[in-house]
């Protein structure tokens, strides 16, 4: 674990000491090297499930795919930010990259944590760089409001979690994940225990986000700069899912009855947010709501606590992370050219930017879960396990799949096909950097079709 953490921390002196014209190149190259190094974690050799352990951090098949996703995304974030940051003075560029690196360090420590309190502290710690990125480098005046919503929704959910964790530490004597998986199930019957259960889960449900408490997400995504959107969509949402999966180990057997309202909210949210997507005019907002929709499916899969549900949740999280980030990058290419996110202004791009249209095509197909892409694997696993839990869920999940297909195709057709408006003819052609960015997002998705065992996690 230290092999990855120390080079990531050393990226900070790198950004501040390299001469001005080499900053972006060196940071991208070094973070790419770290990402490739993190791929060695995927080799699962240990029997107990936990490997590469240190005193406080370890990896297991649940956290490894998310860790690799995080490390993979850092060079992509730096690549994506290059264009819109370049007019700023060099020290501000350096502080931006430093913030991204700090966020990365906290994320690695969060995913690798074995003590739940350490996970909690890192979970909260990721809020600060994200908040600074959104409020300082966002594009519109609403970004302050977005930052406040973001911070307060997440904190209001996670402070009860802190109290709940401290109560657990008093009762069980430890909060190490290695030990908790072997303790006897606790007898949880009273009202106070039910409130404790809600306290544990609420933070992660807000982060996921669950449909009722999802208001911070579209605001935060729309106002954030591209790297902020990428990391928010791809990784920070998965922190919520990962936390939920870790916490539910100790929450049995209450979860069977208490999870009903949240599962219903999640399923209803899939349909509602999907329908909102169909009527959106703002491209980034569309992608943000599609994130909520997919995460609703993940939340449903985790809350029913079946092996296939968990597996589907992890696969969908990884696949959604890559694809959602890819879609945000594509939206950003549009934004950088026209400085507007309105869908109507960037129509008919296939005529002008044909190669980018290919990437749009693949990303949208992945979003609507085309076989054999991993998005479908995840969705199918979750839908099947939800069906076996209760046959009525097929109504909402089936409808949700249909609506997802609807808005993904809508997004594709609106941006690519159709008559080209006259004002877009003079747009810049695509940079190689942008093509590289999209390729690096989508090639892992395609490769994961060939070996999905890398993502399957604990339950196979």
């Amino acid at each position: 674990m230290l092999k990855i953490l120390i080079p990531t921390l050393m990226l900070i002196p790198t950004t501040w000491l390299t001469p001005k014209s080499w900053v972006w190149t060196t940071t991208t190259a070094q973070s790419l090297a770290i990402a490739l190094l993190s791929l060695t974690w995927l080799k699962w050799t240990s029997e107990t499930g936990w490997s590469t352990s240190g005193p406080y951090m370890a990896t297991d098949p649940l956290s490894t795919p998310l860790l690799v996703l995080t490390c993979w995304l850092l060079p992509l974030m730096i690549l994506a930010s290059q264009n819109h940051i370049s007019p700023e003075p060099i020290n501000r560029q350096r502080s931006y990259i430093t913030l991204l690196i700090l966020l990365q360090t906290f994320l690695i420590m969060a995913f690798g944590a074995t003590e739940i309190i350490m996970f909690y502290i890192m979970f909260e710690a990721t809020l600060i760089p994200t908040l600074i990125i959104i409020t300082r480098w966002g594009n519109q005046t609403e970004r302050l409001n977005a930052g406040t919503y973001f911070l307060f929704y997440t904190l209001a959910g996670s402070l009860p979690l802190l109290v709940a964790l401290l109560m657990t530490q008093k009762d069980m004597g430890t909060l190490s994940m290695l030990i908790i998986q072997h303790t006897k199930p606790t007898n949880l019957l009273s009202w106070g225990d039910k409130i404790w259960w809600v306290g544990c889960l609420l933070a992660f449900l807000v982060k996921m986000p669950l449909y009722g408490v999802h208001l911070w997400l579209p605001k935060a995504h729309v106002e954030a700069p591209i790297a902020g959107s990428m990391v928010l969509a791809a990784v920070l949402l998965k922190l919520g899912g990962y936390g939920m999966m870790r916490i539910t180990i100790m929450l049995d057997p209450l979860t069977k009855e208490l999870a009903y309202p949240f599962i219903i909210l999640a399923l209803w949210g899939i349909i509602m947010t999907g329908s909102i997507c169909l009527r959106q005019t703002d491209l980034k907002s569309l992608i943000a709501y599609s994130s909520v929709s997919h995460m609703g499916l993940v939340a449903g899969g985790i809350l029913i606590q079946t092996p296939w549900g968990f597996t589907g949740a992890i696969i969908l999280m990884i696949a959604h992370g890559l694809v959602s980030s890819a879609l945000f990058c594509l939206a950003n290419t549009n934004y950088e050219r026209t400085h507007s996110r309105t869908l109507l202004l960037t129509r008919g791009l296939q005529m002008i930017l044909p190669l980018m249209a290919t990437w749009w095509f693949i990303a949208n197909l992945a979003n609507l879960a085309l076989p054999p892409l991993p998005n479908l694997m995840g969705e199918l696993a979750i839908i099947t396990s939800l069906f076996s839990w209760s046959p009525w869920t097929i109504v909402s999940t089936g409808l949700g799949t249909l609506i997802t297909a609807g808005y993904s195709l809508y997004m594709f057709l609106m941006t690519q096909r159709g008559p080209t408006p006259l004002h877009t003819i003079s747009l810049h052609p695509s940079h190689t950097r942008e093509h590289l960015l999209m390729a690096m997002h989508l090639i892992p998705v395609l490769l994961l079709v060939l070996k999905p065992e890398l993502m399957w996690g604990v339950c196979h």
Binding site: I121, M122, T148, F152, L155, V163, L166, M167, K170
Partner: protein
């Protein structure tokens, strides 16, 4: 007790001329208010200790055991440091002072009463302390929400932090000391940075970025730390206090305190 009272009176007397340095009517008004409140509190302390000596025959500070005496002394000391519901003097007094004197008021002046509070901590009424603590945290949070004057903001933040310190007094006085120390450090940072930038309102803070970007980053970090966000140091006392409260099976109190920290955070963020 007699010597303690004398010490507190001398402390008050010494700081009065310091506060009245500026010949501004608001400064004079603030000085008068401060003098009145502190004198009242000191008189109450004398009264309570005399009552204790009369009924129990004991002048020792840590053996003040008559229940009425302990309650009176606790309330008097609370008035001295500005805990709710005896906090009403603090924002206005702080507003009337310039930043350096305000710094002294918030940090150094708290040390003496706290020394006394720590010494009587075994005998105090737990319900009283909990009420004082929770009320202070909530009042500090809500009162600061509508403020634009930085000194009043810091006054309300002081009230909230004092609430946190008091609530753990009954279980682990060492944590009270830790919280006090960290709070003094953070508040000194805030006051001194505000003095360097010579700003007293939120509007003037907004213009600080072009002047001294490093200092502004420092201010932001120290504000977030005052708010108690991990992984900054300000989180540590809050975490330990919540842990101690949880160990004592007081989850509801812990949750209320945690939520009121959110209120304070909101006005720090502005």
């Amino acid at each position: 007790w007699f010597l303690a009272w004398m010490g507190l009176e001398i402390n008050t007397m010494a700081i009065i001329p310091l506060m009245a340095q500026q010949h501004h009517p608001r400064a004079t008004e603030a000085t008068t208010k401060y003098f009145l409140t502190q004198a009242t509190a000191a008189a109450m302390i004398l009264f309570a200790s005399t009552m204790n000596a009369w009924t129990m025959g004991d002048w020792n500070i840590n053996q003040i055991s008559h229940p009425l005496a302990t309650t009176t002394v606790t309330l008097a000391l609370a008035l001295k440091i500005g805990l709710a519901p005896m906090h009403f003097w603090l924002p206005e007094v702080l507003q009337g002072l310039n930043l350096t004197t305000g710094l002294v008021l918030s940090t150094w002046q708290k040390l003496a009463p706290f020394a006394l509070i720590l010494q009587i901590s075994q005998n105090t009424n737990p319900a009283l302390l909990t009420t004082l603590g929770v009320t202070s945290a909530l009042v500090g949070g809500w009162g600061g929400l509508n403020q634009t004057q930085l000194r009043k903001l810091l006054a309300y933040s002081s009230i909230a932090h004092l609430g946190w310190m008091i609530i753990i007094l009954q279980f682990m006085p060492a944590l009270t000391l830790l919280n006090l120390t960290i709070y003094i450090t953070m508040t000194s940072t805030m006051f001194l940075s505000l003095k360097i930038m010579a700003s007293t309102k939120i509007n003037s803070l907004a213009l600080a970025w072009p002047k001294t970007p490093t200092l502004t980053t420092l201010i932001m970090l120290s504000l977030l730390s005052l708010g108690g966000l991990p992984p900054l140091t300000g989180f540590m006392p809050k975490w330990l206090i919540l842990q101690e409260l949880a160990k004592q099976d007081l989850p509801i109190t812990a949750t209320i305190m945690a939520m009121s920290a959110l209120l304070s955070l909101f006005f720090y963020l502005r």
